[in-house]
Point group: C2
C-alpha cells in the first residue's frame, strides 16, 4: 500500500480492552463503572427533540463548560475545554503543544495509550521508571521533554503520588505537564487547583469512570485560558455532539448521585483488596476503581487470566515489563467481586 505515511508502517493502533457481549459474563477488564449513570442523564437524553438533532451543536459546548467550571472551582468556562472523550483531548494536547520530532515524557508504567498517540504524532515517548512503590524519582524531576503525561492516580498500579511531588514536577519541567485524573474521583485529593498555580499544568478528566458514561464519550481538560485558546484552534469544529453536551451537563449537575456510587465502589475496593491479600496476592493501595494484583510466580498471571476467562470472568493482563505477572481487576459490584474471589480461590486450590 503506497499511500500511507511511513510513520504508520510500524503503528498497530491502540488495542482497547475486549468488549465481548456474552450473557452472564463478569466484565472486570475496562474499568467501567458497575453502576448506571445518574437517572438524570437518561432524562436529559429523552428530553432531546428532532430539532436538537437537526441543528449544529454549540461548537464550544459553552453551557456544559460553564457547569464544569462551577463544579471544578475554576474561574470560568474559559478555563475548560470539552472533548469527545478524554482520548480526543490526549491526542489534541500533542497536536497543540508538541512538534513532530519532539520528546515527550511519561512515567513507567502508565496508561498505554500515550505511546500510541506519540507514535501517531511522530514524536518519541521517553519513559522514566517509577520506583518500586510507584513513586517519582530524581530522574523525573530532571526530565527535559516538551510535554509530560502524568497519570494520577497512576494506571495500572492505582497508586497516587503525593500532591507535593506533582508540584515539584510542574515547577521543574520545562514543558506542559498533563495531569491525567481519569480515576481521581476514587481518590482522596486532586490537582484541579494546579492550573491556577502553574502556567504549564493541564488537568484532564473523563466521564467514563466515576460518572458511568463511557458510552457517551465525554472528557474535559482544565488549564489557563491562554492554553485553552490554543486547544480550541486544534479541535474539530463541532467535536461534541448535542447529546453528549446535554448528557454531560446532566451528569455533572447531579453530584450527589456520583458521590454515592463512588462511595460504594471504594468500599467494595477495600473489601476486594483485603480478600486478594488473603489469597496471597500483592496489591498496591489503590486510589482508583481497579486493583493491580501481583501473583506468585506459579501458577502466574497468564494462567490465572486464562482460567478466569474459562469461568466467564474477564480481567486485564498486560504483557509488559514490571506488570506482566499481575492482573488488573476493575472493582465491580460486591457480587461480581465475590464471584471473582471465589473463582481465584478455586483455581489456586488447583
Amino acid at each position: 500500500m503506497k499511500y500511507q505515511r511511513d510513520i504508520l508502517k510500524n503503528v498497530e493502533g491502540y488495542t482497547p480492552g475486549e468488549q465481548p457481549r456474552v450473557p452472564g459474563l463478569i466484565k472486570l477488564n475496562t474499568n467501567e463503572n458497575p453502576y448506571p449513570p445518574s437517572p438524570k442523564t437518561l432524562e436529559a437524553l429523552h428530553a432531546l427533540t428532532l430539532d436538537d438533532l437537526r441543528k449544529y451543536p454549540d461548537p464550544v459546548s459553552l453551557r456544559f463548560r460553564e457547569a464544569c467550571a462551577r463544579h471544578y472551582g475554576v474561574p470560568g468556562p474559559e478555563w475548560v475545554i470539552a472533548g469527545n472523550g478524554m482520548d480526543e483531548l490526549l491526542a489534541l494536547v500533542l497536536r497543540t503543544f508538541v512538534d513532530p520530532g519532539d520528546v515527550v515524557n511519561a512515567t513507567y508504567p502508565t496508561y498505554s495509550l500515550y505511546e500510541v498517540l506519540t507514535s501517531l504524532h511522530g514524536c518519541a515517548l521517553e519513559y522514566i521508571d517509577l520506583d518500586d512503590d510507584f513513586q517519582l524519582t530524581d530522574a523525573h524531576y530532571t526530565a527535559q521533554g516538551r510535554l509530560f503525561f502524568l497519570t494520577r492516580p497512576n494506571a495500572p498500579s492505582g497508586v497516587a503520588i503525593p500532591r507535593a511531588d506533582v508540584e515539584r514536577l510542574c515547577a521543574s519541567f520545562p514543558g506542559i505537564v498533563v495531569i491525567d485524573e481519569a480515576y481521581v474521583d476514587f481518590s482522596d485529593d486532586h490537582c484541579l487547583d494546579f492550573p491556577e498555580r502553574f502556567e504549564n499544568a493541564i488537568v484532564m478528566r473523563t466521564f467514563s469512570k466515576s460518572y458511568g458514561l463511557a458510552g457517551m464519550r465525554v472528557g474535559t481538560a482544565v488549564a489557563r485560558p491562554e492554553l485553552i485558546n490554543e486547544f480550541m484552534k486544534t479541535k474539530d469544529s463541532y467535536n461534541m455532539n448535542a447529546v453528549a453536551q446535554a448528557v454531560g451537563l446532566a451528569a455533572i449537575e447531579d453530584d450527589a448521585y456520583v458521590c454515592e456510587q463512588v462511595g460504594r465502589i471504594r468500599a467494595t475496593r477495600e473489601r476486594l483488596r483485603k480478600a486478594l491479600l488473603e489469597l496471597g496476592f500483592s496489591v498496591p493501595d489503590s486510589h482508583t476503581n481497579f486493583l493491580l494484583a501481583y501473583c506468585a510466580p506459579e501458577p502466574g498471571a497468564e494462567y490465572l487470566f486464562q482460567q478466569l476467562r474459562q469461568r466467564n470472568i474477564i480481567v486485564r493482563h498486560f504483557k509488559s515489563r514490571r506488570i506482566d505477572n499481575a492482573l488488573r481487576i476493575t472493582v465491580g459490584t460486591d457480587e461480581e467481586c465475590e464471584a471473582l474471589v471465589a473463582a481465584l480461590r478455586e483455581i489456586l486450590a488447583g
Copy 2:
C-alpha cells in the same frame, strides 16, 4: 504564551457559520436541512438505556458500517469508516496519508475548512482555480500533491463537475483523491463506485445535510479496505459515541424518508433559483441544498447581507476572492425562501 507550537501562531481556527438562537430568525447560512430527521432517529435515541451510556461503545461502529456498506453498494463494512462528523474524517485523512511539509491540492473555490486543516497539519494547500463555470482545467490534471480535496458537488458554487472529469483526475493524480460528497444526495449522480475502480479514491459523506442530523456528528468515508485499515490506526479509539452509532443506523435504514425530504428541497431550490434570477442575480445551476447568488456590483453582497440580517434573515457571505460579491443561501422551507425573496425584492427596490 511559550508552550504552543509555532505552527499555531498564525492559525485562527475554523470559523463555523453563526448559530444565533434568536426567535423567529430565518437561518439560511449553514446548509442545515430545514426538515427534521426521520422520526425513527428519535425512536432510536429514546430506546437507549442507562446501560448503553455506561458501557464503552463499539470502537469500530460495526453495525452502523454494515448498514452503510449495504446502502452504498460496496462489498462490506471493511470499505467504510465512521467518524464523529465528516470533519473528523477530513482531519484524519491528512494525518493518515500526508506528512507535514507535503503539498495538498484543492480546487478554488472550495470548502474553507481544508485550509484550516492543512495549516494545523503543517502542510501547504495549493489551490488550483476552477474555470468561470466552476469546472476543472488542465492544471488540475497535472497537479502533483500528496492528496487532492475535491468537493463534488462543489461548495460554495453548487456546481457538480462531470463524473468523467473525476475519473480523469483520479487516474492522473499521484496521491489520494478525497471526493467530498457532503451535498451529493441533492445531486443526480455520485461517485460511490470510485473506490472499487481507483485505488486512490476516498469518498466522504456527512449526515448533517440530507439526513438532517447536524447535531449528531455522523460522517463516513468509503475506500478500499487497505486504506480504511490505515484510517483505523489514526482515529481515536472510541470516536463515535453509542448514541451517534444508534441514530446514524436508524437514519440510513429509513431511506424512503430521506428521499422524500430531498425531493422537497430540490423542488424548492429550483423555485428559489428562478426567483433569484428574476431579481437579477446570477446563480449557477446547483446540485446541492444551497445556491450561490452573485449580486450586481451595486448595492453589492455585503450590503444585501447586512440588510437581510436586519430583517432577521441570515445567509452566508464569504470575503474571499471570486465569491465576495455573492451570497450563499441555504435552501430552507418554501416559506423561508419566499420570505427571503420578498426581503431581497424590498431591499433592491430601495
